[in-house]
């Protein structure tokens, strides 16, 4: 009970941080990689340039922070949406486990993939 109480404010802080990073970085990144590059509106970056940018330690750190905080942002928000929007309170524990568990697994995957790129 005490752990749960301490946890909720920290989860909210993670949610807020994720919201800020996602809001700042995702629109431009998604505009480029999800729309402009695939359609050729802007020429996609050459492989060498993109790899150099992505493998840079600073980029790796920024991307890791972005991925992790955004996943926890999703987890927190989606958990409450399911709880309130669908009124499925009896599945409360399952929802919490799935959402935050998913965020933890996703963050681990992000760490692994980014590290692998950085080290290769």
């Amino acid at each position: 009970m005490v752990v749960k109480r301490q946890l909720e404010p920290l989860l909210w802080l993670l949610f807020s941080a994720g919201g800020v990073f996602a809001a700042l970085l995702m629109p431009s990144l998604l505009l480029l990689f999800g729309f402009a590059y695939p359609l050729g509106v802007v020429a996609p970056p050459s492989y060498e340039h993109l790899r150099a940018v992505l493998s840079h330690p600073l980029t790796l750190v920024v991307l890791f922070v972005l991925c992790t905080s955004s996943l926890f942002h999703w987890a927190h928000r989606f958990r409450y949406t399911l709880y309130d929007g669908l009124q499925i309170k009896h599945l409360n524990e399952v929802i919490r486990l799935t959402c935050y568990g998913g965020a933890i697994i996703g963050s681990a995957a992000a760490a692994f993939l980014l590290l692998r790129l950085g080290l290769s």
């Binding site: 404010p9 920290l10 309130d84």
Partner: protein, 247 residues
């Protein structure tokens, strides 16, 4: 312009029905009449059995809150001219149990209000001989907005979270707790923290923001809640990173 307007009023008479029924009343219409004037006309001249609450008729007592065309409003501050010539639908405030006709029970809120200790509490009391606790205008500005609440319950009617989970403490109670937390004369924020930091407290709020939209006194309860979330979360972080205390 017609000089009559129709009010479609929700009735609930527990002695003879178990559901809401609607009755239509035609009342006079002038530009300066509010919905409350229409209801008073109905009660005086048409149907004396209509039950509803009102008092000051000037937007300060908080008694006359009802749903007008699905929106929570103070009926003494809602002009018929905003709806004329269409029918105006008047129903009791949502998210509260209906006792009769347009009267709801706000006992839940009254009990919750006490739990957040809406009075000034001090750790160290000054003796009376030392005079009053003084406060600068800037210090008063810190909490003044949150002190304007008239307990009209429109925010509770607008809050979907309160509707879905009646255990949620609710916007007005948290705003009032903030009014005391931010008051420089009060020294008991940590005592209120116990109740406010529960799931039924601030953490149940998902910042829908409807409460602030419907508040007739511009209290901004949503802002009060988010500010408290931030300060409570930062305090939690500090005690998590430095469990030995920071003083």
């Amino acid at each position: 312009m017609k000089d009559r307007i129709t009010l479609q009023v929700a009735r609930y008479r527990p002695e003879k029905e178990s559901e809401t029924t609607f009755e239509e009343y035609e009342v006079p219409y002038t530009k300066d009449w509010v919905v409350l004037d229409g209801l008073n006309y109905v009660k005086d001249r048409v149907d004396g059995t209509l039950a509803y609450r009102w008092s000051c008729r000037m937007g300060i007592c908080g008694s006359c809150g009802m749903m007008v065309n699905g929106e929570p409003k103070l009926t003494c501050a809602t002009f018929l001219s905003d709806y004329a010539p269409a029918t105006v639908r008047v129903e009791p405030l949502t998210n509260f149990p209906v006792i009769r006709d347009l009267i709801v029970d706000i006992g839940d809120f009254m009990r919750k209000l006490v739990t957040i200790k809406p009075w000034i509490m001090r750790q160290f009391e000054k003796p009376i001989s030392e005079g009053e606790y003084r406060q600068t205008p800037q210090e008063m500005d810190e909490y003044k907005q949150f002190s304007m609440c008239i307990n009209c319950m429109l925010c509770y009617a607008a809050c979907p979270i309160y509707g879905l989970d009646p255990k949620f403490i609710g916007p007005a109670a948290i705003a009032l707790a903030q009014r005391y937390n931010l008051d420089s004369r009060d020294q008991a924020s940590s005592e209120r923290n116990e109740i406010l930091s529960s799931h039924e407290g601030i953490w149940g709020c998902t910042f829908v923001g409807e409460c602030t939209k419907v508040c007739p006194k511009h209290v901004d309860p949503a802002g009060a809640i988010q500010r408290y979330k931030l300060s409570a979360a930062l305090d939690s972080l500090k005690s998590f990173l430095m469990p030995w205390g920071t003083s």
